[in-house]
């Protein structure tokens, strides 16, 4: 990547770097404090600031051992919740992005009446708070959709599986995904599309041969955001899991562990870190996609 441009090098000033580094350090102090706290014994956490660790170090992995391995008869081991989180997150990223890419393609390149209106409505739907949709969606999953006496969607008996959670996350992820991907796709040069059409590509091959390969950076960067969002979600997992431990994600378990133990700073700190590990790995592994592609569509020029 030739992102380091000559013109900018001339101005690369040590002061700018210093300021950026100072901000980064300030930004990290709270999290760092949490990390230090998570390896301190419970008594110390409650009775002295985490910075005293450096003058008076006392180290323990007890908190992590407790969070990770503390078995209980009511709860499966944490490994199962890790699995659940993955099993929940992967389709909840794949489904909405696929559907959103389809819709964004249609809205960006098909010519039909009312496509602007549809796009604006979808854009507006971003603001619908999640909480409004909990009850209607749950009813749909548990009872199906019946208008009058006509059964439009029958009760599929999917309550208590991952499927309602996937569908719910798909719905909640769609508006923003369509909005961002539409911005990206509509920047694809018209000549490119038209040339392909002239060559006899139909709308379907056009999608798979041209649109899809070109959208990879945008897909990758949006996937990361959707991943972070789904992984960190508590409310959807809790509500649409049908109250079944077999499908509950990590966040549900950690919230429960923390709540059951009084103020329990020591478990809060370790628990927060355990749940952060995967998002951090994902971010560090994929961060270069942010630098490319992300929202490239909304950049003019």
């Amino acid at each position: 990547m030739s992102t380091r441009k000559k013109a900018k090098d001339i101005f690369a000033s040590p002061i700018a770097s210093a300021v950026a580094i100072i901000i980064a350090i300030l930004w990290t102090i709270p999290t760092f404090g949490l990390l230090v706290s998570s390896i301190r014994p419970e008594k110390d956490i409650n009775n002295s600031g985490w910075w005293t660790f450096f003058t008076n170090p006392s180290f323990t992995l007890e908190n992590y051992a407790q969070v990770l391995f503390q078995g209980s008869t009511t709860n499966p081991p944490l490994a199962q919740f890790f699995f659940n989180s993955f099993a929940l997150t992967i389709p909840a990223v794949v489904f909405p992005i696929t559907l959103a890419l389809f819709a964004a393609y249609a809205l960006a390149w098909f010519n039909f009446k009312g496509k602007d209106t549809i796009f604006f409505i979808i854009f507006g739907l971003q603001v619908v708070p999640l909480q409004l949709t909990l009850i209607p969606l749950l009813q749909l999953f548990s009872k199906g959709l019946v208008v009058g006496d006509t059964v439009i969607i029958p009760d599929l008996g999917i309550t208590g599986t991952f499927i309602p959670i996937w569908i719910a996350h798909t719905i909640f992820g769609l508006p923003l995904a369509i909005f961002l991907l539409h911005n990206f796709l509509s920047q694809i040069p018209r000549e490119l599309i038209e040339a392909a059409r002239v060559d006899g590509a139909n709308w379907f091959t056009l999608f798979s041969k041209i649109i899809l390969p070109l959208s990879v950076p945008a897909i990758a960067s949006f996937s990361i955001f959707q991943f972070l969002w789904v992984w960190n979600d508590l409310l959807v997992g809790l509500t649409f899991g049908g109250g079944v431990k077999q499908v509950a994600p990590l966040t549900v378990r950690i919230a429960e562990m923390v709540g059951s133990r009084g103020s329990g700073w020591e478990l809060l700190t370790a628990g927060a870190f355990v749940s952060m590990i995967v998002p951090l790995i994902v971010f560090f592994a994929l961060q270069r996609y942010f630098v490319r592609g992300l929202l490239a569509g909304s950049v003019k020029g």
Partner: protein, 445 residues
Amino acid sequence: MSFKTKRVLAATASAAVATLFLAGCAPADSGTAAGCEAYADYQGFEGTEVEVYTTIIAPEADLFVESFAEFEECTGITVNWNGTQEFEAQIAVRVEGGTAPDLAIFPQPGLLARFKDSLVAAPAKVTESVDANYSPDWKNYGTVDGTFFAAPLGANVKSFVWYNPKVFADNSYTIPTTWQELLDLSDKIAAEGKIQPWCAGFGSGEATGWVGTDWMEDIMLRTASAETYDKWVTHGIPFNDPAVATAIGEAGKILKNPDYVGDVASIATTTFQDGGAGIVDGTCAMHRQASFIGGILAADHGATIVEPTDTSMDNGISVFYFPGTSADNKPALGGGEFVAAFSDRGEVQALQHYLTTPLWNNAKAKLGGWFSANKGLDEANVADPVNKVAVQILKNATTFRFDGSDVMPAAVGAGTFWKEMTAWVAEDKSDADVLDAIEASWPKN
């Protein structure tokens, strides 16, 4: 409020008891029939499952699950214990959404009423068992509009003052037996200036303020008659009635007195779990809180729960009865959970019935840290010192009343009452303004 009722906590001691008990009499793997005679009524449901939805989560939940072991083995019914802190909000979502649990353990009778259309009335056998094993008061809390839905489960007593027996002994403080003696003792401690007379904490996330409502209720039960208390809870008198004003005034004598509690406003930001920490390390003398706080102080602040007579431990904590206006006025404030069914399947009714039997109540109590109002519960099975006192208080109480805010409509009992008690300490809102604001929020119809 869930936190109050669910924390019949497994202190280290009781966990040890549990281990001993199970090691001693765990049913042998073979011979399923042996020892299963008591479960004859619950046969025919092999392979079925019952979901129990509740606020009670680990570690307390583990003891519940253990207490079902025999039932599960003898009946073939699997009990899926599903505890979440989000119970109060989620139960509404699940019921409306058509995914109601089989059984729900309601920590607040006030919450029960909202689900009367979805709940299944208790079957005759459960009703019979409750009639036989619980006082009419308790049955009444599980009854909505004349229909009995929910059977009582655990109980707790809130009229407790926690203190450190060694600190009291060292300073020769005597346990007060009347409200006036309590204030006199507080004055004396404050005058000496060695330690703070009281400490308190209202903080509890979005439920912040419930500790304040408990104070109010406990005092209301002392300064007013039980009839007035009932009227207050059911809005027979307005919330800003002079009788209520008297109660909040008395509460303010302690909670809003900086000589007693130090910085009044910070009560609102101190969590209820940390509120009592001062009595463990000897920085304050007294802390009014329900029985469950002992387990938390033991787990988070290294306290040891001791008999009131044991003055040897620096970190020993114990309880005395939150005194009434006179020595023979002994009302008790308590709380409890109620089990209601959303399904009429046989196995669900079997479990609901089992939970009302002395058989289960004794087995559960033996595991420690827990008691109930079941008449068949043998006191000898309630092992730890505090719950022992609690059972005594429950028995000797001149009046027993349920936690009022748990019975009030949710808009008040889980809403403005909490919020206003918080503002009362945090913003020094006046007694009258607090009561007027709560009165204004009482649902119209």
